[in-house]
Symmetry: C2
Subunit: 181 residues, 2 copies
DNA sequence: CGACTCATGTAAGCTGTTACATGATTTA
DNA sequence: TAAATCATGTAACAGCTTACATGAGTCG
């Protein structure tokens, strides 16, 4: 149930239309909870129906017209309730680790290139995050909002660092064995 | 599409019934791709229909009777193909980071306890992994299977370590501010 | 026999993904 | 005015979650 709450958070930060939200998900909130525009539109409809958000008056409700949404008090309350509630961390689900485990049984053919490709992707993501960090969180500032949002970004950075480290380990381990066939 | 392949891997490691698979998912493969028994039974049905696995003869097909499955050559081929194919890493989706971001907007009430709870859970998981590591991968052995399976386990260990580090950072950051109200 | 556990399954609902549809606005 | 782009959707499907159903064996 994170998507509606991610949307509420985004709308509290700044009232937006569906497409604007989609863009912001692509470059900010979506780093931690990705969503497509179809999901977002569907969710906006539900949130409006539940009375958590409303379309700003003045915007034409027609198809093809922008529609700005803002959060209503009930939406803010819902978000606060959700953020403070107890939620267990979900068990991990990572295809790459499953594939590595499969490789342990059937052989490692073709896997090396995959690992190198993933390594490059994670390095690129790390670079993106680092760029945001030095731009948005220069040393010295520390309002509460800043500190918490910086913390979230640090999570992304450390997670990418984990992958880079693990993939490097994995490539080393594969390197020790001769080519498969 | 990881679940069927995780099941194929598990069945190659050892032919099993649905419930046995469920148990093994709970304590081994499922650390990296969790699944409930309903998912597993449904998937077993599909895999059998596709000709990737078969029920071992001799087992009664009745309800309430054990049914052992084994992987057929087509299943092994499918797994090899999948493991070597290119698959992009999925964008991250983590509710806790979303909640932290929400907290940046609406305040951190109640979040501290949640973070401490998660920290304890991750420490426990790390302890579980470390236990498996010292039991199943004592220093000195290094068959290929062992090395790769150890690598997967190291992934779990490093990921839990990441969370422990990040949650500690987060609690430090929250600690700097006085209680909310 | 009654309760409990083992083992396999069905059904409904929700979330996420992919493909497509449609109106409005801009630009060549 | 034709094409491209912006903006909002609809539809169909696949996967996951939760709750429930059913038969078989075991133990008191």
């Amino acid at each position: 149930m994170s998507l509606p709450h991610a949307i509420l958070t985004a709308l509290l930060e700044k009232p937006s239309s569906g497409l604007e939200l989609t863009r912001r998900f692509d470059r900010s909130i979506g780093y931690f909870w990705s969503a497509t525009h179809q999901q977002i539109y569907r969710e906006l409809g539900k949130l409006e129906q539940q009375g958590f958000i409303r379309a700003l008056p003045g915007a034409a409700p027609a198809r093809g017209q922008k529609k700005q949404y803002e959060v209503l008090p009930a939406g803010r309350a819902e978000l606060a309730q959700w953020a403070a509630a107890g939620q267990d961390p979900k068990p991990m689900r990572d295809p790459l680790l499953v594939r590595m485990r499969a490789a342990a049984v059937i052989g490692t053919g073709g896997l090396r290139a995959e690992l190198e490709r993933h390594l490059a992707l994670h390095r690129a993501q790390l670079a993106t995050y680092s760029g945001i960090e030095s731009k948005d969180f220069p040393p010295g500032r520390d309002g509460e909002q800043d500190r918490l949002r910086h913390l979230v970004l640090r999570g992304g950075i450390e997670l990418e660092s984990f992958w880079i480290g693990w993939l490097t380990e994995a490539l080393d381990a594969l390197g020790e064995e001769p080519a498969e066939e």
